[in-house]
Amino acid sequence: MTKRDPNPALSDFLASVEKKAYRMAQLAINDREEAFDIVQDAMVSLVKRYGQKEPQQWRPLFYRILHNRIQDHYRRAKTRQMVFGWFSGQQDDDETGLLDPVNNAADATPGGSEQLKSSRAVVALDEAISQLPLRQQQAVMLRLWEGLNVAETAHAMRCSHGSVKTHYSRAISKLRETLGEHWP
């Protein structure tokens, strides 16, 4: 016998956003377990605090909570990095993310030429996005991928409409520059 969801609409909504939410978190913080925790935390928060709201309000609220959690994690990681950097007197180059996304994508999933090209495009894009500043990542993910409008994106990012447009424009320029003619 299958267990019934107490709130099927909310369950469907979470199912519709969980994959994107996880990838947004994973690309932003580059830590699989932390990304799962952040997504689950955002889900719990939405369910507990906004589960009774109108379903059309869930999406912007969920992404606002998710990106708050990501920013909190980012701030803590930066503080830790500063403290450990201060004690060790050096910075870990691996954490600066200075990798060539196209070269890094060279050993992607093997397969037919079209599939390989497609897999390499995905890996290269993920790498390029993870190198963007957090705010630019958020603008691209929310505006382009999730399809939120400027007002909804500004709400999720807690910034002005103008800032969203600036971050988005810079992100697209940077991605075009990074991925260039090698992509897709």
Partner: protein, 114 residues
């Protein structure tokens, strides 16, 4: 020029979607469990959690004041570190207090635009 931009953006979106479509079973299973746990939390009381941000905030403030009072040497560095902690610890409380209010303001602005 605009067409080129649109095409590039479309390619970005498609590649992001492809990445989701290729997500492995373990990740999907993990996300499914997270969703079920979140839904199960809907009817769980959260009285204890309400005090955590306030307690953490008070603790951080006491710590910052203590450090400030007892560290006359390199006072600025300690104070800055303490204040950063306050900011971090206050983040959750900030969400609790203002998230809903901001959302209503946003909804109002949406209605005005519409």
């Amino acid at each position: 020029m605009r067409d080129n931009e649109d095409q590039f953006e479309q390619q970005l979106k498609q590649a992001l979607d492809q990445g989701n479509a290729a997500m492995d079973g373990e990740t999907l299973s993990h996300l499914r469990r997270a969703r079920h746990q979140a839904l199960a939390a809907q009817h769980r009381p959260a009285y204890a959690n309400r005090w955590i941000p306030a307690t953490a905030m008070a603790g951080a403030a006491a710590l910052a004041v203590g450090l400030w009072l007892h560290q006359p040497v390199q006072k600025n560095q300690v104070l800055v570190a303490g204040l950063e902690d306050i900011d971090l610890l206050a983040a959750q409380e900030d969400i609790d207090f203002y998230e809903e209010l901001d959302f209503y303001l946003w909804l109002e602005s949406q209605q005005q635009q519409g």
